[in-house]
């Protein structure tokens, strides 16, 4: 899956996702990606967020919506992402997933849940300072 957030120079926010879903899924299965607030969410009064991982679990907690709502109350993007992950972890300690968050001032962050085989999450950022796509990662 790709989850993307774009914030314009005037703070307008858009977000999106695209995926072919889970390998060997039951036909008809739809994951979190096309669900607003789950796969991604955008609100130009606050920012945007996008989630990736096990959509069957993550879509139950609307992690992108939660992260954006937290940023709306002034929470920084990294903390907003971490809180979204931790809410899921309470119920599913072994879930596979990560969230990226960005606010309308251009600050961004990410968080993920550490499980065997997944201890670091990589994402890409492009802004006028990087002048090219910049790979970044966070430890889960």
């Amino acid at each position: 899956t790709i989850g993307m957030i774009v914030i314009g120079k005037d703070g307008q926010v858009a977000a999106g996702t695209s995926t072919n879903g889970a390998n060997h899924k039951v036909p008809g299965r739809v994951g979190d990606s096309p669900i607003a607030g789950a796969g991604s969410y955008a609100d130009s009064t606050a920012g945007g967020a996008a989630a990736t991982g096990d959509g069957d679990v993550m879509m139950r907690f609307l992690p992108s919506y939660l992260a954006v709502e937290l940023m709306k109350t002034g929470t920084d993007p990294s903390t907003a992402c971490k809180t979204s992950i931790s809410r899921i972890k309470i119920h599913y300690p072994g879930f596979f997933g990560a969230v990226i968050c960005a606010n309308t001032t251009g600050h961004y962050g990410a968080a993920c849940n550490k499980v065997p085989g997944f201890s670091k999450f990589t994402f890409v950022v492009y802004n006028s300072q990087s002048n090219s796509p910049l790979l970044q990662s966070v430890d889960c």
């Binding site: 899956t1 790709i2 989850g3 993307m4 957030i5 774009v6 914030i7 314009g8 120079k9 005037d10 307008q12 926010v13 858009a14 977000a15 999106g16 996702t17 695209s18 995926t19 072919n20 879903g21 889970a22 390998n23 060997h24 899924k25 039951v26 036909p27 008809g28 299965r29 739809v30 994951g31 990606s33 096309p34 669900i35 607003a36 991604s40 955008a42 609100d43 130009s44 996008a50 989630a51 990736t52 991982g53 959509g55 069957d56 596979f96 990560a98 990226i100 960005a102 001032t105 251009g106 600050h107 961004y108 065997p116 085989g117 997944f118 994402f123 890409v124 950022v125 492009y126 796509p133």
Partner: protein, 179 residues
């Protein structure tokens, strides 16, 4: 130091990021940038988890999910279980801009896409056939079914409801298999 504009996306899909940035630099809107960025990943079949030819279902078919959201107007367009159309994010945007709905799914979403001018084509590739064939050889493992008969942890279907409900076993994580 934070600066705007900003493009950020999950996983190391740099070409998608660059495509979104180019769209902005060309004077496109933030929606244009998201659409172009995700479409680039669909065309590139990023990591096998985006676009055609990846993640075949139990029948070997690749289906796509996508969504786009406008944070100014809170409009959303989305498709789920989209069949035979490669440009899922484009169809999602068409749902947003050409209907008052939010989410279209399955065969009907594909018909909508064709009516909106998207090309219908087979999403199967040699790779997706190979993944599917191997899965069949592995007795359909891993498997998302539970509480059915025959035991889905050992056998392929067709499945019927099992007599008892049991706790699900722990699933092995594959970081290349993600939503």
């Amino acid at each position: 130091q934070a600066t705007l504009p900003l493009v950020i996306n999950t996983w190391p899909f740099e070409h998608a990021t660059a495509a979104a940035w180019s769209a902005l630099q060309a004077g496109g809107s933030v929606l244009d940038a998201v659409e172009k960025g995700c479409a680039r990943c669909e065309a590139d079949q990023c990591d096998g988890s985006v676009g055609f030819g990846g993640s075949p279902d139990e029948r070997g078919e690749t289906t796509l999910d996508a969504m786009i959201m406008n944070g100014n107007t809170m409009e959303v367009g989305a498709v789920g279980d989209l069949r035979r159309i490669k440009n899922a994010i484009g169809v999602a945007r068409a749902v947003m801009e050409r209907t008052d709905h939010t989410l279209l799914v399955g065969e009907s979403a594909s018909v909508f896409a064709e009516n909106m001018g998207f090309t219908a084509e087979d999403l199967t590739t040699n790779k997706s056939i190979s993944i599917f064939t191997q899965w069949l050889k592995d007795n359909c493992q891993p498997n998302y079914r539970k509480n059915v008969s025959p035991d889905p942890s050992q056998y392929c279907g067709p499945y019927k409801p099992g007599a008892t409900l049991r706790q699900r076993r722990k699933r092995q994580i594959d970081i290349h298999a993600h939503d």
